[in-house]
């Protein structure tokens, strides 16, 4: 394998390589994460991006808030140009609210995903989709372009999926928050020993 220039030496060169990444000192990014595209990517505090995740900002910026967890082989960002009908003031790119968990192999092109929502393994969320808070998109569900999912919904089953609302949402909110923060803590300890 040929030696690649280290991150520090790449930053010092005048030519910009890849997207501009804005991150916090508490952000953990795996070395095998692939960042591509030209538009800015911002990563909040306590975000963990696991092995071989792909962040594509070629067609829109990526904005990930604090306490998000991106698992291995997940793909975040638009993979094709956005719909031309989009109005001016609307949010563009991919925006993840705090505490969103993206599990292994999921593909997320959604415009916004609400706080403490879980996108399970292998699920696909099409571009322009808006997903509410405390939702769960179960494994292998494919949500099409522009899909809208309300707060506290579970989408499961095959294809576009069946939906049901989460029972006893009040208690679950605290649980989700705890589960996500604990998971991030454990992973951080696993990786950094701190």
């Amino acid at each position: 394998m040929t030696a690649r220039p280290s991150v520090t030496s790449r930053i010092s060169t005048s030519r910009s390589l890849g997207p501009h990444i804005q991150s916090d000192s508490t952000t953990l990014i795996s070395a095998s994460t692939a960042f591509t595209g030209t538009q800015p990517i911002s990563l909040g505090p306590n975000v963990i991006i696991q092995l071989r995740a792909r962040m594509t900002s070629a067609y829109g910026p990526i904005n990930i808030s604090e306490n998000c967890l991106i698992s291995e082989r997940a793909s975040i960002g638009l993979l094709s140009p956005p719909a031309p009908t989009q109005a001016e003031g609307e949010p563009t790119g991919v925006n993840l609210a705090p505490g969103v968990v993206i599990e292994s192999g999921a593909t997320v092109e959604a415009t916004c995903i609400g706080a403490y929502t879980i996108i399970e393994a292998g699920a696909k969320v099409g571009k322009g989709a808006a997903i509410g808070e405390h939702c769960k998109v179960c494994a292998m569900v494919q949500l099409g372009e522009g899909a809208v999912v309300g707060d506290g919904m579970v989408v499961y089953g095959s294809g576009w999926g069946e939906r049901r609302s989460e029972q006893g949402r009040q208690e679950l909110e605290g649980m989700r928050r705890k589960a996500v923060t604990e998971q991030i803590e454990v992973l951080r300890r696993c990786w950094t020993g701190k």
Binding site: E72, S104, A121, C138, A139, M140, V141, Y156, S158, R189
Partner: protein, 200 residues
């Protein structure tokens, strides 16, 4: 004659260990010190095994006698088990007594895992056939002689009894495996020696 390292390098895409495990060079194994392959196991290219997700604290559950021995093991794969290309093996985690803990992932003997599967199960038994694209959720327990159909999504925490065929999203029991399941060489769920021999 070329020097030995040069001649051995283009030999094959697989590394064969002393115990006969065939591990693809292009597989993505993380935390290899926590992964135990039982011998004559095949790991195909692009397979991702997350051995780094190991339980940090010593086991708190005194009821499980095995947990002490496996405290530092995250993935255990049995003999003649075949993991097809693109699959992800990932130890499951759960929220237990207010903390998240990772549990070891155990896979039995003569088990076949199809292409692009995502396995987060707690244990998978012997002579299990998992069709391609299946997802086994967190803490799923699959007993012996089970067939998981293609594209099935086994929901988190499910226990699949032995001798069942499960399929669908979410996966339900759709039938039973026949009498000859696991008896015949080269059949689904059957003896996997021939498949192991044919690799690499």
């Amino acid at each position: 004659m070329p020097p030995k390292p040069a001649s051995s390098k283009p030999k094959g895409d697989y590394i064969e260990t002393d115990t006969g495990n065939k591990v693809a060079r292009r597989s993505q194994l993380y935390g290899t010190q926590n992964i135990i392959l039982g011998g004559r196991t095949t790991i195909q290219p692009e397979v991702c095994i997350r051995g780094d997700l190991v339980r940090a604290a010593p086991p708190k559950d005194p009821k499980d006698p095995k947990s002490g021995a496996s405290a530092n093991t995250s993935v255990m794969v049995g003999r003649y088990t075949f993991v097809s290309t693109g699959s992800i093996l990932r130890p499951p985690h759960r929220l237990h007594k207010g903390t998240v803990s990772y549990h070891p992932l155990k896979i039995g003997d003569h088990t076949f895992i199809g292409e692009r599967c995502i396995i987060e199960a707690a244990s998978i038994g012997d002579h299990v056939y998992i069709g391609k694209g299946a997802v086994l959720g967190k803490m799923v327990i699959v007993k012996d002689w089970v067939k998981v159909l293609e594209g099935a999504v086994v929901a988190a925490g499910t226990v699949v009894p032995s001798g069942c065929v499960v399929g669908g999203r979410p996966a339900r029991v759709v039938g039973e495996v026949g009498d000859g399941w696991g008896m015949h060489e080269g059949m689904e769920g059957g003896d996997m020696r021939e498949l192991w021999r044919s690799v690499g």
